[in-house]
Symmetry: none
Subunit: 187 residues, 4 copies
DNA sequence: TATGAATGAGTTTTCATTCAT
DNA sequence: GATGAATGAAAACTCATTCAT
């Protein structure tokens, strides 16, 4: 249903713009160019609308299917970058997806449904990266000292942290920091 | 003014608990055990109350004065840990301070006053850590390859990222990841 | 929309009764026998509600359409009387319409929207009366000495002034004064 | 007491500026450059403060003592003009005194104390003008046809009406209309 | 299936008044 | 005599949800 999709899109934009707790159903309908009644008609309530919108956005940021075919740690970068950048320029961070991610991570503590789905997704992602690190350590490309799980946790957390800081201070150059991390990790 | 302080405390707790956009002045007053009118009397409005509460909390997390006396990179860890952990157990992350930090970082995009104060604080912190990294590189304790600014940016972002993930999934062991980061950085 | 109309009616009554600045949306809703939310639903805010209510009342007091068919100055009297009196008795001044007029004239200084609409209406009315005076002077029915514009201004201002005084002191006999004015004007 | 006087002055200004119903005690104290507590200390409540302020202003507009020495109707004009104009330019209408008069006349309907004092003042004024008209009619200066009381009522009401219209539309030339009235009245 | 008018609970803010100092 | 911190009642406004059409 196109209507449903338009509402989810509008809701994701507004979560990023005004913050989860201040999104109103009226604003979502208006942004989507749809009548206000459409929200209640397609979703059980505001909570459901926002949860679905956030999950759709976050899932697009961690495309597990595509990640499964990655074999080199450095190949993660372009994939992740593509999912958080605005199409024409891969250097610009898309404020909607990164904003929704940050909002959703905070919202987890209050919304069990969302929490379950987000942590499940992140665990799958962490496990995938752990396997990747393990393989690269086996090949001698990545430092063998650190535990693969800890390293994967670090890589993901550092990525999110850089994202958050870039969102806060757009002038902050984070590309250098990301490269430093990869250089440190590789032998 | 004890009243003002009680309101700031209650507001910080609620920002972490329910999220910036859903804190109500009524709830703040109730939590502080004060009449509702006290909020309007002591603050110009909700925005001011929340901004002051968030800044007081975040400033306590980055105690620049104490940081100036630090000379070794590893000495940062206990200081940071102390500022974000609940007093009895330094291993537990205080959900209030870390929650407020996460909320404030998101709120920056909509609140210029907050944005100015937070970015100023983080820039001072980043500059301080950069100097520390530089000194440690001179002493040969830290890898000389990476640019000191990028390394400092990475360290802070990784710290915040780990904090955020720990907040999201309390069972996630982040201590190991933090140690891995330091081990990679040191020669 | 019957609801909207009921609110406008109730608002006009309350403007006259308690004064513009002390009308509350709650009281308007209650007077109209409607829920409180109806006010915000049908109007953008209190200001808009009161402005619309006042304009509807004042426009009914100066029925320009009907005035255009008037040819004799004395025919103005019954028309004006009809628009400000309570239906059964044409001698009694309706406290609502005259009260709203007085309140609206005062409010103009603080409400540019209202000011524009009221002054436009009064200018149209003044111009219409000026034409009428001019015609009557040509016919020799009205004193030819005074300037038609000044005379029209005087007639209207005197009418409003008598209205205001009658409102203040209901026992004051103003009918005699009104007749005196017309007698002086006519040759 | 100078303090009391300063409060009355400030209150009169604010009545004219924001309207009777929207004057706040805080604003009065601030305008007077006095502490907020001074209001409660010098007056029994807001109602008393505003009533006293309005009466002091209105009484200054109708200086009965000076009026008693007037013998010619035309001598009323400069006296009235002086009491409602701003000192340097007798042509400009003082928005404070005329605004307070208009507000007070409307407020009478809700404030019995004020109503008593205002109607008493206006009746005294009307009686004085009636006597004046009677004398002038005896001297043959004023048209003998109309009843003196009705003529006095008309004169006062027309004056107030012109004042009100000038307040509403400052560009409206009312001097001509006033002269026309006097010309009509005189033989 | 789809709409938008209607509702009322809940939010922020204002403010006269009280009262301890 | 004088002050201003404190209070709570009441105001305007927002908004998710319901429901008749």
């Amino acid at each position: 249903m196109a209507t449903r999709h338009q509402l989810l899109d509008a809701a994701a934009q507004l979560i990023a713009e005004v913050g989860w707790g201040r999104v109103t159903t009226r604003a979502v309908a208006e942004r989507a160019g749809l009548p206000h009644g459409a929200v209640s008609y397609h979703f059980h309530g505001k909570q459901e609308l926002l949860t679905e919108a956030a999950m759709a956005t976050v899932e697009a940021m961690f495309p597990l299917d595509q990640l499964r075919s990655v074999t080199k740690l450095t190949d993660l970068i372009p994939l992740f970058q593509a999912s958080i950048s605005t199409p024409p320029d891969p250097e610009t961070i898309d404020p909607v997806s990164s904003g929704v991610l940050a909002e959703a991570m905070r919202e987890c503590g209050r919304n069990p449904e969302l929490r379950g789905r987000i942590t499940e997704l992140l665990r799958a992602y962490r496990s995938l990266v752990t396997d990747l690190v393990h393989a690269e350590q086996g090949r001698g490309v990545v430092e063998r000292g650190p535990d693969a799980t800890d390293l994967a946790t670090l890589l993901i957390a550092a990525g999110d942290g850089l994202l958050l800081h870039a969102l806060l201070d757009p002038q902050l150059p984070i590309a250098g920091a990301a490269e430093v991390l990869l250089a440190l990790v590789h032998t």
